[in-house]
Amino acid sequence: MTRKEFVHFFLKNKKVIFAICVYAGLIILALVGPYLSPYKDPLAFVGPGYQPPSKEHWLGTNTFGQDIFTQLVYGLRSSLFVGLLGGTLATVIGLLIGFVAGYKGGWFDEILMMFTNILMVIPTLALLIIIAAYLPYRGVFIESIIIGFTAWPWTARAVRAQTLSLKTREFVDLARITARKPMKIIFGEIMPNMMSYVFMVFILQFGGAILAATGLDFIGLGPTRGISLGIMMQQATLWNAIQLGMWWWAITPGAVITLMVATLYVMNAGLDEVFNPKLREM
């Protein structure tokens, strides 16, 4: 596909356009939200508790009188950060292991895949729990790193499979005959042919990291200081926000996460159509 063709189908695809718009909105909200809000500190007690959405508190307040909108925009920031860092890390690790295992083959491949399969069976959240439980001080940065280091196995397996099929092509043979170094062949010949796939993997890892962080925050293993969307929901559950009918506290943070992740899926479906002519709507 030429670049011009790509841009044409990319900009014509409704799903992709939709996803880009939603993410542009979310990123702007995360960037300027804290300045829009009249309250600077998401943890400050700024008003009476139990307030439904109003002019003073756009999304109401929680039991302690903290402003939900302020918490939400700060939580959005940390979610996007976890997605970016954790997702990137998981993608990079998965790519490297997949490429090397697939290209080198032999017992090297066997050992790497054995390790990958082992990690794949262990539920990521369980692994995160056991690591995070013993970290006395946790920040969003550490959380993203742990997520990145535990979420790569399926990527590695998929990339390995693709590498296996690509490495038998003529152009790779040709590069090998000219005595190019393996790393150069991987990044110069094999990876460019997988860029579309790599991009989609990144999108899935981005969403996966956000979901993993939310789960971790919710069971009480999130950042020890600061706020996140998962922590908001944990507090809402612990303080019986649902029973008290405080939907603005319990439901909104999760709705934002659902919007973020669902948009990523839509984006992926759209990209699939861009890259794969068979799937385009006829």
């Binding site: 054995m114 399969n117 082992i118 794949m120 069976v121 262990i122 539920p123 990521t124 959240l125 369980a126 692994l127 729990i129 056991i130 690591i131 439980a133 013993y134 970290l135 006395p136 001080y137 399926w154 969403g207 979901l211 939310t214 789960g215 919710f218 069971i219 009480g220 293993l221 929901m233 809402a236 559950t237 649902i242 029973q243 009918g245 939907w247 319990a250 439901i251 943070p253 999760g254 709705a255 996460i257 659902t258 973020m260 992740v261 669902a262 990523l264 899926y265 839509v266 479906a269 068979k278 799937l279």
Partner: protein, 329 residues
Amino acid sequence: MRKYLTKKILIYILTFFFAVTIDWAIPRFMPGNPINFLISRFAGLPESVKVLQSYFTQAFGLDKPLWEQYINFWKALFRGDLGISIYMYPQPVAKVIARALPYSLIVLLPAVLLSFAIGNRFGAFVARKKRLDNFALPVFYTLTASPYFWFGILLAWIFGVVIPLFPLAGAYSFGITPSFSWDFILDFLHHWVLPFGSLFLVMLGGWAIGMRNMIIYELEANYSRYLEALGSSQRLIRRYAYRNAILPQVTGLAIQLGTVVAGALTTEIVFSYPGIGYILMQGILNQDYFLIQGCFLFIILGVLLANFLVDIFYVIIDPRIRKSYSGEV
């Protein structure tokens, strides 16, 4: 077939070994020395520091060389000794977990099986039906994108607060004692609907989308085109497509198990449902490390077992695996 299963079992044994090693190593080698951190929380009470110090030294066997600690850890494990819970002192962790396990299973198993069966049918039905697809797809995407526990919160709010149909917490009412009577069973089911429903619906979305995409892919395949050229009915073609498409879905089931279990854990917390997830949360809130470690091991064991069952199921439904390993193809 035997070769295939042997290979899988080997992986599972290695995984278990790996998991136990992590379980053993993390409290000992984590930066910041978690055991010291635990003890330092009681720094204001010098008396209890001493007691705790000796307790932890004994419990973790810290006065022995590392390799001996490791072997002892395995020995204790095979005796079923997972330590004493701090949160529910002085009950052994194994007992606390054994009591919680049935509650987790009774929500998780039906949700996984039913959502897999119904979701796949639904996805196959929707594929390549333009109008239905346009309506169903956004719904499925929203379902599968929502965190399990958030969807639980949403259902709890809608069906517990706005329209108060179902109870919001616990596995049965306070006034009732567990027994095999109709009253109890009805009450139990009443409490069971929402946790089950939220798990079921979120999973349903994922399976339906996966199946829809697979069916579209299969309908593009040459054999479908050929059948079409021969003039076979759409129903027949779709049936063939379904049988091919279900295989990657079963593999997907094995891959998804971890996420599903994690989702079930968090959903239990929302509904204060007394399963493993709820216990785990209590363990975390109360810094009960033995309980956390025990839950970790149990979750891994469960996932391994489930993976193994999926593998066997895969052999049953895919004749190629059966045949290729016995040399018939």
